[in-house]
């Protein structure tokens, strides 16, 4: 394998690992703020219990997000020097603003948020929690601005192969930003909602009937039920936006080879790029045309339009885009089904968590990670769908790669993969371990000052 493909795999692996954790922390910060505010308002200990459990998950996820993010920021230099050389004048300021307005904010106030509960006045602790949540959302905003600009670039001019900014407003508020940012923030909210539902269901199945667990089951289910229809609607709008700016991506998502009318919505197919056709198609007639053009005979662009005269393929690889898109949408509908049924059962005769049958709790546990699946599938659709471009129409991926020897990239890739596999296993097992420990009663321990030897038995900051 050559350096290009290895570097792509390495970048893909690193960012996939990275995004798992921001997806959790972005929304979980706000959920913790919600728990805190509910506690302040009601004085009910169940909110405090919920806060205490989920702040641990937050701290752990945050650490994972930070260390993998640091890896990301070096990747541009080690593997994609051509990227910054060509579009550094645009990417640079955006990344700088992310670091300055977001990373420091969240990193500094994280300390106070996690360990300052009894050291600072209540309002300062609440404010710190708010600032951390705000910081993670800001960092998502800036990075998504950059990413969206790479999909729908504008507000710049090219001089000798280098991009120069001409209009920062156009760069920041580029056409796909509103859709991508909203879709991603909702994705984060959903990921957290289902993680909360899943882990709380696990505790419920182990016999935990505490106020804290009830509160989180309700919070998670209602949050999920509320967000998922909005997400599906946003996804649809996002697709229409993509149809306008990156038709080749939509063609790959639909598995549509020829530009034509009355295109079916394919539920299953095996796209074959050699033969340039699908095998084993199963679809709903006219449906893709209706979704994308709002009429049955709407004309949908096809992949064959994106092959040059001399046979060079300028559209993305079809099968991965086609399939990851379906995985995302299917997960979305599974979320809809689960959260609405659970919400209905809880509301019916006001039975709360008791209204949900045990079988359904069993289904909720694996759904804990459904947000991760949909988010990754979504990003694969988006990013692979941009190939062969790195910055749509401006810079190809091939042009940006570093000329580091392939064996070197292969070595680091293997090292990263090994460590990610290890950490992911540790992370997931610790989540369930914490849940199990919470069921056994996680009583507050007496406070002791730490001083050298004197402090031998206690375990701090679990």
């Amino acid at each position: 394998m050559d350096t290009l493909i290895l570097s792509r795999i390495q970048f893909g692996a690193n960012i996939s690992f990275h995004i798992l954790f921001p997806t959790i922390t972005i929304a979980l910060g706000w959920v913790l703020l919600f728990f805190k505010l509910r506690f302040n308002a009601t004085g009910d200990m169940k909110w405090m219990e919920a806060y205490r459990f989920w702040v641990k998950v937050f701290a752990l996820s945050f650490a994972m997000g930070v260390v993998s993010g640091i890896t990301m920021s070096f990747q541009f230099g080690t593997n994609w020097p051509g990227f910054m050389e060509a579009v550094g004048n645009i990417a640079g300021p955006l990344l700088a603003y992310e670091i300055m307005t977001a990373f420091f904010l969240e990193a500094v106030f994280l300390g106070i948020m996690l360990f300052g509960f009894s050291r600072v006045p209540g309002w300062l602790h609440t404010l710190s929690t708010f600032l951390v949540a705000f910081g993670t959302s800001m960092s998502a905003f800036w990075i998504i601005v950059l990413n969206s600009w790479m999909h729908t670039p504008q507000g710049f001019e090219m001089i000798d192969g280098v991009a120069y900014a001409t209009n920062w407003y156009e760069i920041i508020f580029n056409p796909s930003l509103p859709y991508r940012f909203t879709h991603m923030m909702l994705a984060s909210g959903l990921t957290v909602a289902f993680l909360i539902v899943g882990l709380s269901a696990f505790r419920w199945l182990l016999g935990d009937r505490s106020g804290g667990v009830r509160a989180t089951i309700k919070t998670g289910v209602y949050l999920g039920a509320l967000l998922i229809p909005v997400q599906i609607l946003m996804g649809d709008l996002h697709g229409l936006n993509t149809l306008e700016y990156q038709p080749q991506k939509v063609a790959a998502m639909e598995g549509n080879w020829e530009t034509q009318s009355n295109v079916p919505l394919l539920l299953f197919a095996i796209p074959d790029e050699e033969a340039r056709e699908n095998r084993m198609e199963i679809g709903i007639p006219n449906m893709a045309s209706i979704i994308l053009k709002h009429k049955a005979d709407g004309v949908v662009p096809g992949l064959n339009d994106f092959v040059t005269e001399d046979g060079e393929v300028m559209h993305p690889p079809v099968a991965p885009v086609f399939w990851s898109f379906r995985i995302m949408v299917a997960t979305g509908f599974a979320m809809l089904l689960l959260s609405w049924t659970a919400a209905y059962l809880m509301l019916r005769k006001k039975r709360g968590p008791e209204g949900i049958p045990t079988l359904m709790y069993y289904a909720m546990v694996p759904m804990a990670f459904s947000g991760w699946v949909a988010t990754l599938a979504g990003w694969y659709t988006t990013e692979i769908g941009r190939q062969p471009w790195l910055v749509q129409g401006v810079l190809t991926t091939k042009q940006a790669v570093a000329d580091v020897p392939a064996p070197m990239v292969a070595t680091t890739l293997i090292a990263y993969l090994a460590i990610y596999a290890l950490l992911l296993t540790a992370y997931i097992s610790v989540l369930f371990y914490l849940a199990r420990k919470a069921v056994d009663g996680d009583l507050p321990r007496p406070r002791t000052a730490l001083s050298g030897q004197a402090y031998a038995r206690n375990v701090p900051a679990e």
């Binding site: 701290a59 752990l60 945050f62 650490a63 930070v66 260390v67 640091i70 890896t71 920021s73 070096f74 541009f76 230099g77 080690t78 020097p81 910054m84 050389e85 550094g88 004048n89 645009i90 640079g92 300021p93 700088a96 670091i99 300055m100 307005t101 420091f104 990193a107 500094v108 994280l110 300390g111 106070i112 996690l114 360990f115 300052g116 509960f117 600072v120 280098v162 120069y164 900014a165 570093a402 580091v404 070197m408 070595t411 680091t412 090292a415 460590i419 950490l423 540790a426 610790v430 000052a449 730490l450 001083s451 050298g452 030897q453 402090y455 031998a456 206690n458 375990v459 701090p460 900051a461």
Partner: protein, 336 residues
């Protein structure tokens, strides 16, 4: 922009200065928490908890300075960024893996089931060690103009060891400030050991640097430039002496003077860094690319600068707040 003269001149300089400051702040701040990790094997299990408690609220923000430094390199000098990072490909990867290991170990060592704690303690140590060794290695390679020969490799191996010693030294000074009783006495002993490594390392780097490059040699040993540089080694010598005296007398009753070694250590780091910055200016890739050649478009730099002017004081402000909230001796870290 014209107000200050040619922006193609002062903007790159400003950004080089900003980048220098963030590297320096990084080396001091993450230096002490990496150092604490490197000292891990010498501490008992109970002491390890105190050591982590002393850096727990800070390490994340400390590492953010690295992100800022690399970010500034990336945004202000994109051409240099690629050149430097691709030639340091392997040490960078090792550093990143080190940072990953130690960063997650903070959390896992207390959240994973108790029997696993020893493993995560080990990961915390190994990660800290990998990070500081590879940073020292990169420093050595950079000093040697990023050339790859047997000689530069050996030199880089040596700087790797010395930077690690330097970090564990400043880590020990931090622990003197943040701990009490037995652990504090131990930290004093660690600092006493570390200081000699530090002196040796500083001396070695100072001797090697002018030998590698005639440009730097001229900058150091010609008149009148020599006069500008002379205060650096003299001040450093003085500080080492003062520090040694202060370490001899610690710990004192009422914990007086516990802060002194840490402040001296910062001063030493600043001086050493100042010397390097003086020698390498105006190059960002040694002997190949100056900051003026490598800089991004002035318009883009200006946009960042505007933000920086507003944001840096705020960062400084809330960093100070965090250090105030967690001042005093390390106490058990808890979420409630």
């Amino acid at each position: 922009m014209e107000l200050f003269g040619d922006p193609a001149q002062w903007l790159p300089f400003t950004f080089a200065a900003l980048m220098g400051v963030s590297i320096l702040v990084y080396v001091v701040l993450d230096g002490f928490d990496l150092g604490v990790g490197i000292l891990f094997p010498f501490a008992s299990d109970a002491e390890k908890d105190v050591m982590v408690a002393s850096i727990g609220p800070f390490w994340d923000a400390n590492e953010t300075w690295l992100v800022l430094a690399i970010g500034l390199l990336l945004v202000a000098f994109p051409a240099a960024h690629g050149a430097i990072l691709t030639s340091l490909y392997l040490p960078v990867a090792i550093m990143l893996i080190g940072l990953i290991l130690r960063g997650v170990a903070f959390e896992f060592r207390v959240k994973a089931p108790t029997p696993h704690k020893a493993t995560w303690n080990w990961a915390f140590f190994a990660g800290s060690l990998m990070t500081s060794l590879s940073q020292g290695f990169m420093l050595g390679k950079y000093l040697m103009g990023l050339e790859s020969t047997l000689g530069t490799w050996i030199f880089a191996m040596i700087t790797a060891v010395f930077l690690t010693v330097a970090y564990s030294f400043i880590g020990a000074c931090w622990l003197i400030l943040k701990t009490e009783e037995g652990l504090q006495r131990k930290s004093v002993a660690w600092a006493k050991g570390g200081i000699w490594g530090l002196v040796l390392g500083l001396g070695l780097v100072s001797m090697a640097t002018p030998l590698v490059s005639t440009r730097i040699f001229d900058k150091w040993f010609s008149f009148p430039e020599m006069l500008y540089l002379a205060p650096l080694p003299m001040l450093s010598g003085l500080i080492v002496l003062l520090m040694w005296r202060s370490l001899q007398s610690l710990p004192k009753p009422d914990d007086r003077g516990a802060r002194t070694p840490f402040l001296y250590a910062i001063a030493l780091f600043v001086l050493a860094f100042g010397g390097l910055a003086y020698s390498f200016y105006p190059y960002v890739v040694p002997e190949k690319l100056t900051i003026y050649e490598a800089a991004s478009a002035p318009e883009s730099l200006f946009i960042i600068l505007v933000g920086t002017v507003f944001v840096l004081p705020m960062i400084a402000g809330y960093t100070a707040l965090a250090y105030t909230v967690f001042k005093g001796k390390a106490v058990e870290l808890r979420y409630d």
